[in-house]
């Protein structure tokens, strides 16, 4: 039982020990080789899950839309990702004659590398993590904005009008949705008091290793906004304005084909999966869970979040670009900022630790009471924001209707005269 629970930890310790015994003459070299192997394992995991996810996503979205999805290659179309891979490998790759060659060729590599680098800090089980950075969350957000650079490189380097337009739109979208993401990760850091992903999981776990209070109960609003901005950050439907076919062909990767296109695709999926992992870690308690081993729990939670992504993609139509910006700047950002302030005040006024209550005043409460207060404040902010937005939308609609009526009356008068 114990061996199954700690399977990943035992294997990684065994490999590390093996390398240390073989390369005993140089501890530095042994350490580097161990790190290299861990990195290759993580990258392989990400690449393989990318292949699997393309198949699963096509199947799920097909079912939602009452289609069959891939069903020709192998049983149930299971070999479809392999067939796609072979096709990508052997497809001719054209570089436009007018392209900025260096930038054009580097862009897919940059996006894939930044996407894969996120996996360095994701904890899969106790003790099984690439590296436990003390600024883990910050690292995820920082490395996540690397894809903005890559997309701008692709759009600029292609020397194509659609590509450049797509890149400009994408950059506006990605930088915009980074703001609510940052603000809501900030609330989790506030509650936890640490930026390390391991500490954040430990905060949601009881001392005996069983799951405690997941942050989604404590901070339902940040969880929701993080999910929305996560979808927008990875450019998935309904926020897939970066590749709105009806408007700008395929956006920033219009000119790419073959393996370079595949790397863009890989970047997108690997990023989306990374967001699911980070969401599970920040809000769903990470690898903590009863009965099943921890690595199964984190995979299940990430799969659940990714399923929500697929579900939304199959259900919602693409939003208009001005609506997308309005949702971000006029709804999510003000709401998140107000929520951040209120969370700060609640944490100070209702502390859970005795020392904090004695030092700075405030009412000492149990963790569950604090959770309920925080959740109530969160939901209150959400409800108020939704009411205000609904009222504004109604005013806007009425003004538009009045304008139409006035124009119609004027037309009638003109026709009579």
């Amino acid at each position: 039982m114990d061996a199954i629970t700690n399977l990943l930890k035992i294997i990684s310790d065994f490999v590390a020990e093996l390398i240390r015994s073989v390369l005993g003459f140089s501890p530095l070299l042994a350490e580097l080789v161990t790190m290299g192997i861990a990195a290759v394992v993580l990258i392989t995991f990400a690449a393989l899950s990318f292949m699997g996810l393309t198949y699963v996503e096509r199947k799920v979205v097909a079912r939602i839309q009452d289609r069959l999805g891939p069903n020709q290659a192998g049983p149930f179309g299971l070999l479809q990702p392999l067939a796609d891979g072979i096709k990508m490998f052997t497809k001719e790759d054209t570089t436009p004659a007018t392209a900025d060659r260096w930038v054009y060729n580097a862009a897919p590599l940059v996006i894939a590398v930044f996407a894969l680098a996120t996996y360095a800090v994701i904890p899969f089980a106790p003790g099984v993590v690439g590296t436990n950075l003390n600024v883990g969350v910050f690292y995820v957000l920082a490395i996540g904005s690397g894809s903005i650079v890559a997309i701008l490189m692709a759009g600029w380097g292609s020397n194509n009008k659609y590509a450049l337009l797509g890149a400009f739109r994408t950059v506006a979208q990605l930088i915009g949705y980074e703001v609510p993401m940052l603000l809501n990760v900030l609330t989790v850091v506030l509650v936890t008091g640490s930026m390390s992903l391991i500490d954040i999981i430990n905060h949601q776990t009881l001392a005996d290793g069983n799951p405690g209070i997941p942050h989604i109960l404590m901070l339902p609003l940040p969880a929701l906004v993080f999910l929305i901005s996560g979808i927008a950050e990875t450019g998935r439907s309904p926020f897939d304005l970066l590749e709105a076919e009806s408007e700008i062909v395929a956006g920033f990767h219009t000119e790419y084909s073959g393996m370079k296109f595949a790397l863009f695709f890989l970047g997108e999926y690997v990023n989306a999966l990374a967001v699911s992992f980070v969401f599970s870690t920040l809000f769903l308690g990470g690898y903590a869970g009863p009965i099943l081993p921890p690595y199964v729990w984190i995979l299940l939670k990430a799969a659940l979040v990714f399923f929500v992504f697929m579900w939304l993609r199959g259900t919602l139509p693409r939003v208009r670009i001005d609506q997308m910006h309005a949702l971000n700047w006029k709804f999510l950002v003000p709401m998140s900022t107000v929520n951040l302030v209120l969370v700060m005040l609640v944490l100070k006024l209702f502390p859970t630790s005795e020392s904090a209550a004695q030092a700075f005043g405030g009412l000492l409460v149990t963790p569950w009471v604090q959770t309920i207060i925080l959740a109530a404040v969160n939901l209150g902010v959400l409800f108020t924001a939704l009411t205000l937005a609904a009222r504004a939308a109604r005013r806007f609609r009425q003004a538009e209707e009045e304008m139409i009526m006035r124009r119609r009356a004027a037309n009638l008068a003109a026709a009579k005269a």
Binding site: G36, A38, A39, F89, E92, A112, L164, M259, A326
Partner: protein, 118 residues
């Protein structure tokens, strides 16, 4: 601490190597028969007219400036959030004031129409 970040470096280097090898392998496997039509810029079958690298409208950069404002705010707030439990109430009220000033700035930008697309 040092080794923590060393892994990030190893990760980036190995990711770049693996992806580079994939690109290189594909370049050996794929056919390569370029011609002028194939290498022309894609534009729905028409010849592309004029320069692609044009100036973008200024509103776009104002939006980017608002983003920079909030990004810097978040960077300033992250250390505060980590040390939050040790902060006295007075310091917290200062932080709240700081955030509210930013919120006022956002409302000003909103009023001025900087947040409208098109």
């Amino acid at each position: 601490m040092r080794t923590d970040f060393a892994f990030v470096g190893v990760m980036i280097v190995s990711a770049a190597l693996l992806m580079g090898v994939t690109l290189l392998a594909a370049s050996f496997l794929r056919p390569k028969k370029p011609n002028t039509a194939k290498l022309s810029t894609y534009e729905c079958g028409m010849e592309t007219v004029g320069d692609t690298w044009v100036q973008f409208r200024v509103n776009y950069y104002i939006l980017a400036l608002v983003f920079v404002l909030f990004d810097i705010e978040a960077i300033l707030l992250f250390p505060i959030a980590v040390a939050f439990n040790a902060l006295p109430l007075f310091a917290v009220l200062n932080v709240v004031l700081f955030i509210l000033v930013l919120l006022a700035a956002l409302l000003y930008a909103w009023r001025k129409g900087a947040l409208d697309w098109e």
